[in-house]
Amino acid sequence: MRGKSWIRRGAATLSVLGLVAAACGGKAKAPTATLPTATAPKGSVYDVSLKGICPDKIVLQTDWFPEPEHGGAYNLIGPGGTIDAGKGTYTGPLRNTGVQMEIRAGGPFIGFSSPTAQMYSDQNIFVAFADTGDQIRGYKKTPAIGVVAPLEIGPQILMYDPGHYSFTSVSDVKASGATVLYFESAAFADYLVGTGQLDQKQLDASYDGSPARWVASGGKLVQQGFATNEPFNYEHNINGWKKPVKFLLLHDAGWKIYQSNIVVRPDSITKYHDCLAKLVPMWQQSEIDYITNPTAVNNVILEIVKEMNTFWVLSPELATYADDTMKSLNIVSNGPDGTLGNYDFDRIKTFMDTFIPIEKGKGADIPDDLTPEKIATNEFIDTSIGL
């Protein structure tokens, strides 16, 4: 079962801003920290001391079980950390920086609440995963500011059976009238209906993460999933199916959120300014190092998942497939410029312009003066770091 969406639903998949205006190539703010230029060897980004400027233990709250999409974070600790399968944590020294890092699994481990909410109720949490849409929806009560976005494109998909359908866009799904199965609070559904790409009548919000309905329907459903998981899983692992599936990226339908971007509480921006100035470039580099050489970190992730012994099951083949997909679909990529992990404020703005009215129509309380700059910042980004 791919339940990640279940979690992310709380965060509500963000409607990614569409089409980054290619002409502008995005507006990235110039970094304020003075960091080594691109000529410096990559390893030097990690060789700084964070002691005293960062919390002694940097705690990251993720949104699901450990998975390859989180590889960049786990790469910061690397192999050799301590696994606590009961609590769902992986702890170890953050490279040679002199501080510890603890990565906490989300999803069932936190009662399916959102990582941002956890970050507020447990002040020990320094950074958390969030989706742009959730940041917008939760801005009034739990404002969170993104400091780096390891994933350029969100991996969320609508998957379908090529034996029954052939779709080139989400609007084709609307035309077919097929039932679209999704998690109740996945906000992308309302977005797709609001933008006229799906019909309200074809939505079925009762997805529980299990493949049962897909298999029982013989592939007549269109179902939400993740490009990095379901296609491989359904083709190779799910009894009663074991056939290829095809999919449409939600990003292409305008749902251009920054998925699982790293956010902090607003006061951390000032309080831990020097920390973030060193940590963010490290994180950028870590994502690059991971996707270039994922094996060691994947082994860590596989080990943790195995010890957790739940319905969330990963295999080396699945991890490889996830990494390949992240590369081939540009899920992990520089985007329109040469930097990995920075934010395109035009993209966020375009997304907001469509997303916010739809949400307000549902009664969400979103301040009128919300701008992209309030939920994301490039000030710590090292623009020289890219794939």
Binding site: K87, D122, I238, G240
Partner: protein
Amino acid sequence: MKPVRDDQAVAGPVVPAEAGPIRRVRTRPEPMATKRGLGWQVLAVAGPPIAVAAVFVGIWLLLSYVVLSPTQRFLLPPPQEVVKVGFLDWENLRQVLVTGLLPTTQVAMTGLAIAIALGMLWAILMSQAAWIERSTYPYAVVIQTIPIIAIVPLVGILIGFNFKGRVLACVIISIFPIITNTLFGLKSADASLQDLFTLHGANRTTRLLKLQLPAALPAIFTGFRISAGLSVIGAIVGDFFFRQGNPGIGRLIDIYRAQLQGEQLITTIFFSSLLGIVVFWGFGYLGNRLIRSWHESAQERQ
């Protein structure tokens, strides 16, 4: 003066078992049981349940083979598959029992014990003063109706997403019958008995311990039996929402759902039901023994 005895009593004075059964005049010959033998007796007792079970299995097979198509059969595997894969495969069975039933039983029993302690205490307090009942009983009703899913984040943060959270979910789900049945029992002590205690200067505690609680035992045990099944459900619900540590059957259900392992899913359901039945029966037996001497509900049927 010689004490006067009443005529033949309904039951004679209590005598040791060796002295023989109650004296009763035989008015008709021994029933046919001795003639036809043990076989018929066994058939009479065991026959109906076996017949109903056979019907049950028949309906199951019908659903599995006729109603469901082959691709859908994983939703309800036929009984023999369940037995083969779920029970006869030791690895599978071990997984269900050790990683599922055992942790869930721990949560259910802990939750039930706490529910009984708190529930009875609350009911006793309410029975002592009308104003306490009036102002707090509605909250007991509210507790029963709270959807666990709505309070998961709050509970998780205050108490933990682990064993303690699971136990709390279990307590919330199973406490209401304890409260309401205990209160009902405490209040139904006979009015004349209450007068008797008043007349002879009994204080609150004496009245509670010597009159109200014994009188309430049948109702109290009814509450226990109802909560027995609820505590199992509560533990499994707790598993779903509070996953840290060592959750039980709830986690297994998720695993089997994800892999479409219908046989093991049904095996799991079997054992969780069994747990509920055992606790239910256990309380019934215990309650019966305690009230057998004086309450109609515990009479052995002839």
